[in-house]
Structure formats: C-alpha cells, structure tokens
Symmetry: C2
Subunit: 145 residues, 2 copies
C-alpha cells in the first residue's frame, strides 16, 4: 500500500488527481504500479487502476490475475471495478471510500450484484485518513489557485 | 451502425468476440472505429468501445465527447458504460441487448442510477436481430470446434 501512496503522490506532483495503484502477484511480487494519468495522456480512462491492471497482464503474459491483489488509494469507480471483473483480479484493497464516485461499496456496488461474473475479495479503508487527506489537500489547493 | 457491424465482423475474423464500435462527431464525421481486441492485445479491457472512445479523444485533442455518439453492436458492459461517463459521450446507440453482461439496460443500469455524473442518451435494439445473430454464430462455431 505504501507503493500505491507513492504513486498517488507522484500523480499529484504531475497535476493529476492523486490516486495510485499497485498490482501484487503471489509471494508479494510487484507486477505493476501506476498513478492516475488522465491529464497527461488526454485519456479520461487512464485511471491508476486501469493502467496497473493492463501493465500487470503485459508483464505476466496471461490475461487473468486471479492470484493477484490490487492495492489502490481510492475506492475504484464503476469503470475500474468493471475492469477488475474482466481481469479476474483476486483481491482489491483500497484506501479512501468514495461515496460519490465509487462502484464497490457505493453506487452500483458491482461485486455485490447478482450475476456478477467474478467477485474479488475487497477490503476498504486501508490507511483511510491518509488517503482522504491527500485527496482533500489536492482539491483544496486547486480551489485556492 | 454499418461501420460498427463491419468492425464486429472483422473482429470475428481475428478470432475475437464480434463486437464493433464507432464514435461519430457532429455532422456525422467518423472520429474512431474499433473492434474487440482482447485476445490480440492480451488485454481484457480492450473492448471495442474502450478502444474507440480513446481513439476519438486522441483524434480530437480534447478529453470530452459530449457532442459525439457511440455506435456499438452490443449493449456496453459496466466497464464500458462507466468509461462512457468519464468521456462524457453524448449518445449511445447499441444493437443487441446483453441481459447477462450489460450495464446500461441490465445489471447496474449505470446511467439510471441517482448520482450518475453524466447520463448519455441511449437507444438500444438497433438492428438487434442482426447483432444477436452474429454473436450466436460466433459462439455456436466455438462450441462446435
């Protein structure tokens, strides 16, 4: 989770919304790490989770990540939660809850829906205050400028 | 929609699930067209819609597609519907309904949820039988082989 926070801080320093994600394989191997790059790539889908999931599969050479965990500093949105299903990620551990934009514990709660094709184990609230504080500091600074 | 069907047929000929998508700008300009490439790219997120939305933004140079329409041969899944929100696509016109995997008229019905940040206009069932027949032929042939 510390690596995910480092990616989030690096994203903030690039002027991106500070969200970071890391995909960890069996035995704790870091397969991929990414920060949000929507501004830099001019791609609204370039969320940290999407970039890290794609990179992890590229590194591994397979398409599925059932034995891997995704660490991310913010609750994934419906797009990223939907992607996590397609990648068959085994576990998702996230920092801050996102009552407005989240898709795991809020909104559509994708994994809790009947008929969901894959249900990753999820744990929310990891280092929650730190994750919230980072997001608040970023948006606070933007409102001031 | 004919271009989306052509992309779906091209995807099938590559051994991909036959789904095709086209993003059309104001005045009917085709900004991007793509077929499903999850197998070729070893990327479970490489759905036709994701590829076409990203390409459309790249072609245009902006991040938003509010004055554009996405034509796609199958009802978008939750990942792609979530992406359509982030891209602020104006309209989505799709072919076959997807009761098991869809996220627009089925499952989480993302755009109908309270708090959804952007609600594209949606029209489903365009050339529905043709779209269904194409998918059935593909999966039927795979079961036989």
């Amino acid at each position: 989770m510390s690596l995910a926070f480092a990616e989030a801080r690096a994203a903030a320093s690039r002027g991106e919304v500070p969200v970071g994600a890391v995909v960890v394989g069996p035995g704790g191997t870091v397969l991929a790490r990414a920060g949000n790059r929507t501004e830099e790539l001019h791609d609204p889908s370039a969320h940290a989770e999407m970039l890290a999931l794609r990179e992890a599969v590229r590194v591994r050479g397979g398409q599925r990540l059932a034995d891997c965990a995704l660490y991310v500093t913010l609750e994934p949105c419906p797009m990223c939660a939907g992607a996590a299903v397609h990648f068959r990620i085994g576990r998702i551990l996230f920092g801050a809850y996102d009552p407005k934009g989240g898709g795991v514990e809020h909104g559509p709660r994708l994994f809790a829906r009947p008929g969901c094709l894959h249900r990753p184990e999820t744990i929310g609230g990891l280092r929650e205050r730190e994750a919230q504080a980072m997001l608040r500091a970023f948006f606070g600074a933007r409102r001031m400028s």
